[in-house]
Assembly symmetry: C2
Homo-oligomer: 289 residues x 2
Amino acid sequence: MDVAAYMAERIPLVDHAIEARLGELSSGDGAIPAALSGAMRHLLFPGGKRLRPVMALAAAEAVGGPAEAALPLGVAVEMVHTYSLIHDDLPCMDDDDLRRGRPTVHKAYDEATAVLAGDALLTEAFAVLAEGAAPAEAALRIQTVALLSHSAGAQGLVGGQVDDLAFEAAGGDAEGTRAAFLASIHARKTAALFRASIEGGATLAGANIHQREALERFSRDVGIGFQIADDVLDADSGEAASILRLQGIDDAKHGAEALLDRALSEIEGWGEAAEPLRALASFAIRRER
Amino acid sequence: MDVAAYMAERIPLVDHAIEARLGELSSGDGAIPAALSGAMRHLLFPGGKRLRPVMALAAAEAVGGPAEAALPLGVAVEMVHTYSLIHDDLPCMDDDDLRRGRPTVHKAYDEATAVLAGDALLTEAFAVLAEGAAPAEAALRIQTVALLSHSAGAQGLVGGQVDDLAFEAAGGDAEGTRAAFLASIHARKTAALFRASIEGGATLAGANIHQREALERFSRDVGIGFQIADDVLDADSGEAASILRLQGIDDAKHGAEALLDRALSEIEGWGEAAEPLRALASFAIRRER
């Protein structure tokens, strides 16, 4: 399976759907302010790897659906991911001037616009999921709204960021900052959105409860493995990576491989249709950038 | 109709439902960080007038449903309203130290926690609307998610705040800041959430399309009238109120009365069941605090 070719084929679907949504917001009578539109686009185009939305599409395929069934969720998770980066970069949080080699949103615009662009992306994510749903799809859509809001909310992304800031403020080695606590931060900051992408994508394609439960476990392992890969890449490039303060780099790599093995075992026997999802899981954990 | 008695009866339903939701977030394995929980509660208890959620309940009754049908939306709109106050108060926006006579969230906690508490409330609003929906309710719930996200998003609350900041930065009298522009800001910052509350509450109670359209017009007039009443009260207390820079206070009061008349005409003939909604509209526009 050529994962790069798969991604190259699927990413334009996602990009086009995001563009279409932002275009609607900027046209007609209710056109949004230009600064808001620019700030919302700033980290979306050019974007990152689009791994979360592509995984949503692959998960839909893995349970026998068309990739397109998961497209509204793909757009939504990329918007939620982008909002979380914009808010995490703010001066009152990580205070970062650069993201992917370009000015962060509060540097390119200003702080108020960055807060509001994040707020708008988070809100529009739910609009994308909710609007235009056919009556027959309503039950699956509302389950996906529940999954995404749970993953992004106080028990997911937001709660993870609160604990992460407390951890950093304590210098990364205060009492109580054990590996288990860090793993819990990672589970909420990263794995939660992988879960929404993967389990949600399959849900929109009509997955049954057994498939959903298997993908819930699969996505947790892939999400944590993805975060470890990030930390290892940071360490290789000379940046101190938080989990590696507590664990050696070789141990971390072995741990990530074990997570990948366990994740793949969850969808063993799912056949050819699950091949893209397997390949994306390997890519997420073994990637070299 | 004794509007105070009606509110005194309905507010505890709303408060209890908000408490129940916050309680769930703070218990069990996934309990959220205490600082986040405290910051989310800070402006909710004690809260404001709870006018939006009570209107959601009254709108459900006005179309023949039980008030309880609108309770998830009542909780959601109060959370969205509270998130918008927390973010509007931030140093990078209105930079307010006090709200309802108490420290604002970024003063009581810190800026990062205030941003994140707002993010969490916005996200949990959608979780409340989506979770626990019976399959038969899914279609109405998803329509309500669409309505709330549209009202709160880039074309609603957030876009209105972007324009409001630009208006204030220009000193409130730059070229292009005509009364029509201000009215557009008000429509998005205030009326949009009234619409979500009122049309959404009726939607959850099974309103038909004619009722929904009438309530859309009703809620726009009530929302703008509510904002004018706010500005007049500010002017009476000596604060410069933006719309009154462009319009005399008597003109403003007459305008608000005309909006109330037009709003009430939209639901004329709806009988006794709509009496609480009528009384709340009058209260929103004629209140003296």
